[in-house]
């Protein structure tokens, strides 16, 4: 009989077992518990790690303290100051692959995401620590199943369709800028774009469009993204220009081919 077995009736044993049970449960819960998505919950460690990432990948344009840098060429800037843009802006820009910028151009284009979500969160934590700004929305805020697509559609047409097209297919802006297509964009990023107004986009803050309405818009976009192509190939949902183009090239092409074939028959 070993020492442990000999002391199992010790008066402290029950207390120790209780403590052990609590510890195991606690750690197990901590391991599987849903992590709060809010950037506020970031730790000082995240901020430090985020700053390291920022210095290595972003500072060349945005400045070592995120104060922004000018190019020295007129009033052109290499990168804007980032204090106050908030974690949402970082999550949007890095999460859609727009940042780090691949090349200078009219507009940052969507690209491959260069960082893991953890790294993006760390950089977001660092930027959020500089000054208060819009936070990354919660899962519930962007859940399309909780929104009303009908109401969202109306809001979308009033607020968004003039640039992004009624079908979310995107549209042109001045001097080579454009409003990108919204098809296949993550709900979180749609919310963040409205909240932070990236590039030419205006900011639709919670006073312009309430979070619930933003979720309706997300529900609408998800609905039209997932809807079947009822009428056949949608030709990019770009409206009458592509339809006219199709009529001239394919419609007329086929009909003239048929006419030529029939014309040959007489010979």
């Amino acid at each position: 009989m070993n020492a442990l077995a000999a002391r199992r009736r010790h008066p402290a044993a029950i207390a120790i077992l209780l403590m052990l049970g609590l510890l195991v449960t606690g750690f197990a819960y901590a391991a599987v518990a849903p992590q709060p998505a809010q950037a506020e919950s970031s730790t000082a460690q995240d901020v430090t790690a985020g700053k390291q990432l920022f210095l290595a990948n972003c500072a060349s344009c945005h400045g070592v303290n995120a104060e922004g840098r000018v190019t020295g060429n007129g009033d052109k800037i290499a990168g804007p100051a980032l204090a106050g843009v908030g974690a949402a802006a970082v999550d949007f820009q890095m999460g859609t692959g727009r940042m780090p910028l691949r090349e200078p151009g009219i507009q940052a284009e969507r690209g491959d995401v260069q960082f893991s979500q953890k790294e993006i969160d760390q950089v977001a934590a660092y930027i959020a620590s500089l000054a208060p700004g819009p936070a990354v929305p919660s899962e519930e805020d962007v859940d399309p199943t909780k929104g009303d697509p009908g109401a969202g559609g109306e809001l979308f047409r009033v607020n968004c369709a003039m640039c992004h097209n009624a079908a979310g297919a995107g549209g042109a802006l001045t001097r080579g800028k454009y409003a990108p297509s919204l098809m296949g964009v993550e709900p979180k990023h749609i919310f963040e774009a409205m909240d932070t107004g990236p590039q030419s986009m205006p900011v639709f803050n919670d006073n312009n469009i309430e979070p619930k309405d933003k979720r309706d818009i997300i529900a609408f976009l998800t609905a039209i993204d997932e809807a079947p192509q009822q009428g056949g190939h949608a030709l990019g949902s770009l409206g009458p220009v592509t339809e006219g183009w199709f009529a001239w090239f394919f419609g007329l092409g086929l009909l003239v081919a048929a006419a030529v074939w029939l014309g040959q028959k007489s010979a």
């Binding site: 042109a172 080579g176 220009v241 183009w245 006419a259 040959q264």
Partner: protein
Amino acid sequence: MSTEIFPAGRPADRLRDGDRPEPQQPSNAARKVGGVAGWIDDRTGAAKGVNYLLRKVFPDHWSFMLGEIAMYSLIICLLSGALLTLWFVPSAGHIVYDGSYVPLRGQGMSEAYASTLDISFDIRGGLLVRQIHHWAALMFIVGLTVHMFRVFFTGAFRKPREINWVIGTVLALLAIIEGFAGYSLPDDLLSGTGLRAMEGFVQTAPVIGSYLAYGIFGGPFPGEAIIPRLFSAHVLLIPALLVGLFTAHIVLVAVQKHTQFPGPGRTNDNVVGYRVMPVYAAKAGGFFFIVFGIIAAISALVTINPIWAYGPYDPSPVTAGSQPDWYMGFADGALRLLPGWLEFHILGFTLSLNIALGALVLLPLVYTVLGVYPFVEKWVTGDTREHHLLDRPRNNPTRTGIGMAGIVAYSVFMFAAGNDIMAIKLGLSINDITWFLRIGLFVLPPLAFWVTKRICLSLQRRDRDLALHARESGRIIRGADGSFHERHDALTERERWILVQHEPVAPLELMPSVDENGVARPATRKERLRAKLSHFYFKDAVNPVTPAELAAAHHDGHRAEAIEAAQTPFDYEGVEGSHEGHRGDGHGADTDAGLESDVDARGVGSSSPIRE
């Protein structure tokens, strides 16, 4: 025709070897049909007319079917449109949608829009019929446009067909108005935006604009009246005009006979082709089903005007990519090209030339220019004869150049309407595209004219060369005297005829300013203008090979070049300086009679291939 029957085997039968056999009695079915036909004929006297129509000869060429594409697309529009009226509710009455398209459920909208959604989602086959209707409408206007190209470039609008050209132009104009009315009916965001724009266009008419807009819309925009009004225009008024004019168009084709491309045996006084019964009717009827099939296939596979994607009309939103259908694109494009500083404020009134020029002036201008062209060309050429043989486009380089310049100018306007789509799809700046097109509007049409004309002249020279020297075979032959020459493969007469059949032309010259008695005869301003335009048309004409040139080239291949060089380009028999009188001579009188003798296709090739 003999009906007597002789017993067989008599020697005298041999005498009847050449007799025509007894005609077969018509079958029972044929007799029945004949009975019905006779019954109708006894009561209507239709047999003569039907016989005339069924025996008509139509020439055969694929490009003559372009008009058929338009005709059949129009018929498809009428058929599918009749189906759509069974469900479409032409009303701006407000209702809340509860149909099967989820993203719009619970939204307030007009009955017109809701019924269009129902046609698309809740009525079996409704979306296909809608798409057939819309694709057929686009193809109708594409078809009539390319048909106009064919008629223009081959000179088929010349006497006696000017009226039909004008009717066709009016048809084209009505077609785009009809299309716009249809595009505006579903009351979705796109069509409402179009109507809103149209209201603005009407308002830019000086002085009367606001009254006119009020009259059309029955009050301020958006009102309740416009959809029912557009509906009656779209399904009743304009279709009636279209069908009526279209019938006149076809009747005139039948009365004037169809034009034909030049070829052996084809003259100004005959038509070579197939009779309506049975060949042409079978081909044309078959082509209807081909056109219907292709349009139905496109409609089944490719979305057009997804009204559900645009949402119900509401005056506050507008969508990126708001364009009219392609045939209205040129007017929209003109608005995008016109600079904003053309808006003037005079004595408290606004004159919006930045809008009015594109929206109110351009559209009638385009169709007026189209309509008057035959008369302008006729005045310049002074040609009053009838033409039933088509020009090959190269044989009238100036007209072909003018046509291409017109197409390019129209295209610049049309492409301008898609400047935003081009910008996002090609990664260009919308501002750069707009400036390119603004400058292009002035630069590209003259360039197109020049390039086209040069190409035509070069083709004509090549035709001359081919007619004179035939094809170089690449075989070098050594003569008995030790000389070398290359053997040229002869053209067939048929091939050569195509190259030499057209008429030589020369610019009109002004009469001498002093006549033979020394009396001054100054040219009027009109004459001078005409001479100038005639020079513009014909000064660098390349004329066809004359029989003399051909004979010389045949006699002695080596000296042909010398002969050509010695001759002035316009030195042709029958084309003297003032050939007005010559052109006016009485071809017109005998054409009709001549045309009646329709030539069957088998009769081709009896004419001499070389013009005398």
